[in-house]
Symmetry: C2
Amino acid sequence: MTKRQIVTLPEIQAVLPSLDLISAIEAGFAAYSAGQAVVPPVGELLLDKGEVHIKYGYLRDGAHYVVKIASGFYDNARLDLPTTNGLMLLFSQQTGQLVTILLDEGFLTDTRTAVAGSIAAKYLAPQNVHRIGIVGTGIQARLQLQYLQEITTCRDVLVWGRGQAQLSQFQRDMEPMEFAITPAQDAAAVLQTCNLIVTTTPAASPLLHVANLQPGTHITAVGSDTPHKQELDSAILGRADLVVADSIVQSLERGEIHHAIKDRQIQADNLLELGHIIAGRSVGRSSEEQISVVDLTGVAVQDIQIANAVTEALA
Amino acid sequence: MTKRQIVTLPEIQAVLPSLDLISAIEAGFAAYSAGQAVVPPVGELLLDKGEVHIKYGYLRDGAHYVVKIASGFYDNARLDLPTTNGLMLLFSQQTGQLVTILLDEGFLTDTRTAVAGSIAAKYLAPQNVHRIGIVGTGIQARLQLQYLQEITTCRDVLVWGRGQAQLSQFQRDMEPMEFAITPAQDAAAVLQTCNLIVTTTPAASPLLHVANLQPGTHITAVGSDTPHKQELDSAILGRADLVVADSIVQSLERGEIHHAIKDRQIQADNLLELGHIIAGRSVGRSSEEQISVVDLTGVAVQDIQIANAVTEALA
């Protein structure tokens, strides 16, 4: 290992636009659902000021294994520091030798999460998206919208968030990407008027309620990745025709699905897995009127695939 | 994070001799046993060619949390590569920011393990050590002997290993450190003639048998850190007056103690923990005639303490 094998965030950001991340991460999800990925349970470290997740694993036919360390320290905003952070490490499957350290500061985690959102929408959203709804105004809200450009031509966006200043900033930042951004008066308006919705907040109680749910809606729930976080009323999952997890086994313990099962709104037996839909082994949306929910809790295959893609591009 | 915060093995090796690692790691064990350390279960990744362990945690009154990634790829010897490898990462407990990457290539793991061996001997070995017995001839056998210099004046060493060439090499390498090294004809001779014994092999079935066990013997078992590895006949632990773990909870699932409990030679209730003995909260050896076994499976507090010591010295 030499210091040259260490890649900093600006180097990573320079190479990302040239990569076909949607294909790479689709292949990762398909391999995961087909049992071709080794992904042990997530390591978790809780501290007074934050939380750390360690995700690690490998694809059986790959060259590397990947360890990703990601943190959330929510008081950092007061210190003018980013609240999320992290890095990824690639090692050789043949020798265990360290190949690359990607000092991405959490950006690759944000990116692979956004790419997963666009994959969820690509396979599950209705064909005719008339309005995109975004819940949240942070980095993940922005990246989700950015990557949705690749799978839908809709540019009409309703965004809801708690702070007026953040909503205005979101609008100013995203309009140059040719989106028409409208701030929502309340979260209900998102369900009432949008048919491709992405939720990106760390909410601990539901923001979207079943009373406002319309036929033909697709929701990708990105924010909840722990047992306590929840953005969707469990009854929304109960009403949905399709409830899809990135990882069924993980969704039984974390995220929206875990809440909806506990609330007896859905049964584990009826869950679908995103990688099976990508591979054509499970049937996804079959009509424009269906309601679909994809619950993304984050799987190490996403980290493996994005880390490999960046490393190969820089080789 | 800048590339300057990344420390390579030569830089680490240059600073190690100036550090009081025994005190640092003693304090770590004491804090661990007192419940002052947060050390989640070890993450494990198994591959065709090797295994990877991820150990992580922090001391509640410390500044950093540490993630250590260590691997063993046993075919590497054929490729003329080291079989063990690894690195340690320090992050701020306040902000989650990466503070230091120690590219120690597994050397700090080897070192903190050897330091733990010397701490085990310091607290449990008889006062009058007449001969040191070493089982194994690899890097860990060498480092154990090196760190034993700090806690005993005995320089008479019997070493046993499977290969004659390795035994001779061990002898040539260690004699300049003023040890008188005698290669043993068989493993039995180690138990028959030594009263401070350290076992350092990855054996999967016992090398030392109770028939040869003498009163007044102390054994530190270092090699077994997984559920299947075993260097000591379980009956040795059954016969011992003191059976001590670095981590009781971990030793119920890994290492010699785990085998001896399964074989009904000892009971979990009678186990002692090294950190309690260090802190004076459990009584250790109380006579020269007692038999003691310390089973070291490796705890993240050792990694936390050595990583902190190196980082502080380089600051």
